[in-house]
């Protein structure tokens, strides 16, 4: 069954870094440029994201994740560059269409925010197993119910996608059309989704009973099957990242006060 998670263990050091360290990096990569407010800060953050992805041998797969955002970023440039309310100074023109500097700068900033966010998250997404995040959250005091929800989603979806294929085949063999005009496709949606959804909801009843008899609702301390192998850099790195965020916040507040 195909998993929806993008995690692949490619044996690099990035896969062995603790999920919380990566989460802290994401927080730093997003919050610090936001606090500093200059485009240079974004450039540094994006360069850092890319450097980390290269050393984790995951840049190629990250590219697939961000490529979809390029069309929307392009439309942001066009709409802001042409029509933004603050537009004053013409930057360049194509034929009779004039692009303005103010709008283009705003679009550049939005583009940087989006790319930076996508890249920094892709570091976590591409190199961390979702079940590991769930396990570590539980070990650090989150409810076991939460970690059940997270890890369960990843086993339920492939199962539902299997049902989805079966239902699609069954309905097609009864003569349902899944191509053609918009109305036709809209009509096809109901006979496709209803059986998948009802069957998966009915399954929850059995799953609830199965879990209950295995002591899911029970109280008391849980034991773990897997031990997380600690990476020596995890703790110092998390502290350094936290300090960077705090100092950026202090700098921001200080510049406001002065």
């Amino acid at each position: 069954m195909k998993s929806i998670s993008l995690y692949r263990d490619n044996g690099t050091w990035l896969c062995r870094v603790h999920p919380f360290t990566k989460l802290m990096y994401i927080a730093a990569a997003i919050i610090v440029p936001l606090l500093l407010g200059t485009l240079w800060a974004y450039a540094v953050a994006i360069a850092l994201d890319i450097a980390l992805l290269i050393s984790g041998k995951s840049l190629k797969r990250a590219r697939a994740l961000i490529i979809f955002s390029f069309t929307i970023i392009a439309t942001i440039f066009i709409i802001k560059g042409l029509f933004d309310a603050d537009n004053l100074t013409p930057l360049f023109s194509i034929g009779s269409v004039v692009f303005y500097r103010e709008g283009m700068m705003k679009a550049l900033r939005t583009g940087c925010v989006i790319i930076n966010m996508l890249l920094s998250f892709s570091i976590l997404v591409l190199t961390t197993k979702p079940e590991d995040i769930a396990d570590e959250l539980e070990r650090h005091g989150f409810s076991p119910r939460l970690s059940y929800v997270i890890s369960s989603v990843f086993s339920i979806i492939p199962q539902m996608m299997g049902t989805m294929d079966t239902i699609t085949d069954a309905q097609r063999s009864r003569g349902m059309e899944t191509e053609g005009s918009l109305i036709k496709r809209m009509k096809a949606f109901i006979p496709l989704i209803t059986p998948v959804v009802t069957s998966s909801l009915i399954n929850t009843r059995e799953r609830a009973i199965a879990l209950e008899v295995r002591g899911f609702g029970g109280k008391g301390k849980r034991s773990y099957l897997k031990e997380w192998e600690k990476h020596r850099g995890d703790k110092p790195m998390t502290i350094i990242l936290a300090l960077i965020i705090v100092s950026a916040a202090v700098w921001r507040v200080a510049t406001w006060l002065i």
Binding site: I78, V125, P130, R145, V149, V153, M160, L192, V197, A208
Partner: protein
Amino acid sequence: MNGKSIFRTKFDVASIVLIPACIGINYIGKLFASALKLPLWLDSIGTCLGACLGGPIIGGICGAANNLIYGLTTGDSITLIYALTSLFIGFFVGIMARAGFMKSFPKSIITALVAGAVAIVISTPLNIIFWGGQTGNVWGDAAFAAAQAASLPLWFSSLIDEIIVDVPDKIITLILTFIILKALPEKLTALYDASDEVERLD
């Protein structure tokens, strides 16, 4: 039904199991919508079902967990921002359902309009902060561009964009939710009925 029972939530195993199933349904809805090339998201059917079955609290948890899980694991980190929208859609659909607004087809349309309004109120500021006001949907963004070209204020253009994208989506979603709810067997829905009382024989 009094105000207290609207928010009454069972946190038993059945409700916990419902959450991942609803998150899966959201994903399947989105998958079918893109397989059939429909111009809608249809990615909140599960959240609405969860809200109707488990109440506002479970609905809210379904919505927020949905976006958090997909954002943190499938690389679609933009959805993380909209966890707030999903949370409130789940919450308000849950309230409407508990207040009896999912019992008949016309009433479910009212629920759909409430869900659409919630989506607009919460998503529009998020769109402005993160995307400069756009939604990424072709039709909505075309309206956004036209409104900006006509020198309308940013928030207004963004609002129009969001209305075009979200209201039809929520109406279709709630109609589907209504159809699915009617098709569910009672032995399942009874599992989530918070107003029931356990009778003891001893």
